[in-house]
Symmetry: C2
Subunit: 180 residues, 2 copies
């Protein structure tokens, strides 16, 4: 598949079938994330794959209750990937400090999109989740307080193969050549 | 090409040939960026493509002089893409505020990596540049003060087709299943 087709095909999946996802495929997605570029090759990411049914229920409850319940559709996904961002101790952080940019977040965007596009190629649906109760998620998964969970990715086979058009600004609105 | 092959093939290019890049191909790369997902579909990106030789020289001088000269290799690239991040006025910003995460940076990571992988598929080399004199770049390109330039991407045909192994942590270092 051409890259642009893959990009067009991929969409947020909010309804998942019960079909389980093999760990071999999960690892292939993580391999794509692992190879991502990052500022000063700092690789500020690690991943907890939650595919144990009981633990997943507990994580879902911790993550998506109360004011976070708009994302409770994630309950139906057979896999949750908890993305941990490391934020300190590297040249990238020093450069980021001087430039006022938190490069680790850009790096997380790159790595997770690798994971997500690899999943799409394998026929899996995914959704980026940024709105969840981080404190409770860290408690359940025993993630140290000094680490940050910025993103959770839900993953599974889509319930339907519906294709949605993407609503995006036109190219002419977001691109210009030179100054003119 | 399979997605994972594309990911493996792509590397930072720091030596460019003089072969020009057509605007048709540049627009194809930007199309891949345009279609990227973003928090609340906020699409917080826009791009200035600098391919005019004289302007490019001026931007290079502004961006990569003095303490920023480690990136002066970008001089040899026929195209610079200046990535502008918009940071305010959206639900994504509100959510980000409550969660303490600047989602626009994750979005920029996703969109720019789409651009870069599309470029790779077209045989182009690229480099992520995060270390440059933002103030001077904004002056030259008349970018309003309230906008942010977090990233510049250099682009062109690579001078050589050298394949480098990627130095990355092992998968076992960055991934675990469930709590165990």
């Amino acid at each position: 598949m051409h890259f642009l087709e893959l990009v067009k095909k991929r969409k947020s999946t909010r309804k998942y079938s019960r079909r389980p996802v093999s760990r071999e495929i999960i690892d292939k997605c993580l391999e794509a994330a692992r190879l991502a570029p990052s500022a000063c090759n700092s690789q500020p990411w690690s991943f907890i794959v939650v595919d144990d049914e009981k633990l997943k229920d507990a994580v879902n409850k911790a993550a998506f209750s109360g004011i976070y319940s708009m994302n409770s559709f994630a309950n139906s996904a057979p896999v949750l990937i908890i993305v941990i961002t490391r934020r300190r101790g590297y040249m990238a952080r020093l450069g980021g400090y001087f430039r006022g940019v938190q490069y680790s977040l850009i790096d997380i965007g790159i790595a997770c999109e690798h994971l997500i596009l690899q999943a799409e190629e394998k026929g899996l649906g995914t959704c980026w989740l940024g709105w969840f109760n981080e404190k409770e998620v860290k408690k359940i998964l025993r993630i140290p307080k000094d680490k940050k969970v910025d993103i959770i990715i839900s993953m599974g086979y889509p319930e339907d193969g519906e294709i949605r058009d993407k609503k995006r600004k036109a190219l002419s609105e977001i691109r210009r050549f030179n100054i003119s």
